[in-house]
Symmetry: C2
Subunit: 387 residues, 2 copies
């Protein structure tokens, strides 16, 4: 039985952590499994390499960036393999290319096109743990490509599918998916089971446990995922198609990088959104006045300059920065009226003014001043879960 395990950069940041991860892998091997491990670059290596490149030129060739960035993972696979060998676990490291990971698309944001895992099977056959470099593959030009940020999760899921693995365990600093960020909400509890869709909503709203692209891929090919703690012995969170066991409200999440834009005299707003789309600005919550002349929407704070560029010279507008979004997500929010009532109550009791509201099938979001985000998150979470 093949199990794919993925360890993030902070889980392999130093020798002490490499040792603990190696021990965890050894345990899985000793339980009779064939283990394929995917690792990211150690700690802040990728950031460091990016800074080196940016110090030469802010607009480096993406091909050369990939050549540079790929070394981070190549180092960590070698080091983890050395540690596995050191504790007596036969292992071998493989780059993306050696693992047969073929990519298409653009540099620094490539997609996995195909995996030809001949060599992986070969090494498994020899009784070895195979340690594969995440985040990278090879294109038809024989050039190294990276998959973009969070790409190691995607590598792990794609490998799990290609190898018909029993499951794909994504290890990180956090030992699973919580009903809210436990660093902010003390009463947050770990979720046992969650559906792909709910997980996708949670992730896109700011939960950083699993990369969204990887969850989407897992959903498409029904790869069983778990989110686990690298340095914890506890059970993690299972992510699967089945949502029967899922609670109606699954989790709360917050995002502090929201800006609110109001554009006046838009003549229907179509032109405004066309311009935004062309510039690649993601519009989140949209509210329009009844006569459609005035339009209000939220964007990421980091997109403010782009908005000014593509709208500012044509329309009058206001931009309010330093807002945040608090959302509740659940695949089966049946009694939405009750939910809305509870949330209003919570925010009223904690004196948090609501700026905007948005609601969809599986989520409900409020926009509040950034300084109220943590208060709102706690109040809403604890009200809904009756803490």
């Amino acid at each position: 039985m093949i199990i794919v395990q993925k360890y993030g950069g902070s889980s392999v940041a130093d020798n002490d952590k490499l040792y603990k991860v190696a021990k965890k892998i050894q345990k899985t091997v000793n339980a009779g499994n064939n283990v394929v491990v995917v690792v990211s670059a150690q700690g802040k290596t990728t950031d460091l390499l990016m800074n080196m490149a940016n110090s030469i030129d802010k607009k480096c060739s993406p091909r050369e960036m990939d050549m540079l960035l790929a070394t981070g993972e190549q180092q960590s696979i070698a080091l983890l393999t050395m540690m596995l060998n050191h504790i007596g676990v036969p292992a071998i490291s493989l780059t993306g290319e050696q693992a047969g990971i073929f990519t298409i698309g653009e540099h620094m944001n490539a997609r996995i096109d195909e995996i030809r895992p001949f060599r992986i099977f070969n090494e498994i056959e020899k009784g070895k743990v195979v340690v594969v470099a995440g985040f990278q593959g090879i294109d038809e030009e024989d050039d190294v490509n990276t998959l973009g940020r969070g790409g190691s999760d995607t590598t792990a899921v794609a490998l799990a599918y290609a190898l018909s693995a029993e499951r794909c365990d994504i290890y990180s600093d956090v030992d699973g998916v919580y009903t809210a960020d436990p660093r902010i909400v003390k009463n947050a509890v770990k979720i046992e089971n969650i559906s792909y869709d709910t997980m996708l909503e949670l992730a896109s709203l700011g939960a950083k446990v699993l990369n969204n692209r990887a969850v989407e891929l897992a959903k498409k090919y029904e790869v069983k995922l778990t989110s686990r703690g690298s340095f914890s012995e506890e059970e993690g969170t299972k992510i699967a198609r089945n949502s029967l066991e899922n609670a109606s409200v699954t989790g709360f999440t917050a995002d502090k990088t929201v800006a609110i834009v109001t554009v006046f005299n838009t003549n229907g707003g179509y032109d405004v959104f066309a311009r935004l789309a062309e510039k690649g600005v993601q519009v989140d919550i949209v509210g329009q006045s009844i006569d459609l002349e005035e339009v209000t929407f939220t964007i990421k704070s980091s997109d403010i300059d782009k908005v000014k560029e593509c709208i500012g010279n044509r329309y009058d507008m206001d931009i309010l920065d330093n807002y945040g979004k608090v959302s509740v997500v659940g695949s089966g929010m049946i009694n939405k009226t009750e939910m809305v009532k509870q949330i209003y109550e919570a925010l009223y009791e904690s004196k948090v003014p609501i700026k905007l509201i948005s609601s969809s099938e599986i989520k409900f979001s409020v926009i509040v001043d950034e300084k109220y985000v943590d208060i709102a998150l706690n109040a809403m979470h604890n009200k809904v879960f009756n803490n």
Copy 2:
């Protein structure tokens, strides 16, 4: 016309140096040449990576060491290419594998078996400077191999041969080969022309400008070499077959890691040398007593433990550590008697006791106490060159 240029690790250690190297390459390109550049890992990167591995296990798998070490060069080719692009020189980086460098032999000490430079020619055709990772290649298992220390020089020479390059310029901190190490001998002067053989003797005696293996390869395929300064505009030293122009005495060199071993009752000494050869101990200068019962020879200090291991339990012996060797090298030392006279004079005048002497066709060496090495080097150099 193709010119291969090789830049060592300290020549590309930071952005400032990368810029200067890029400018040097640009100048060669602007003069109408096609340039293929070979680079080593930046500064102390290779040592740093080795330390990381050793901190996990002193005896890491050589295959994994190669996986780790190869990242050093991969980083520097990307960064130098970014710098070249930044100053407007079209360039592309290639790993050893992409450059078509195929290796055989053992990991961490592989030999170049063949170069298939299709892609290099392809990129040159597109008008690009090709920046190739030194020190690495790919074996028939599709695994990364490194060529051992100094391997980037070998990569450069092998590429120059495979590409039928006009010449191979080896750039380093030093702007050529000197009659002695200028940091120790103030009066040392740069040598304009030197033969492969004399260069080999100088290098094996301790001059660190060019890797010996690379010089041997250059000799075999008659690749024209020059040793130049990365940050100097001056002409360097030409290394070629022709020795007509070479001076009779070419240079002085010193080595401070010598130990003297005397073994007693050896019964001819054959068994002693057989044992040393088996252990891979290189014996340098050998002196025997007339009855062949006692044998004295020099070894590298670092081999003392090996010698104790393979001889110590069988024979009585003395080991004297902390000695050094000073040598004079020249392809046409015709008047050796005159040379010997000058050297004795120099050492007598500077009160340096001689411990052992050795002489061959193109070199003459004396073993002295380590503390006298610099004094002896200066005295001999200045006496012979009449400074």
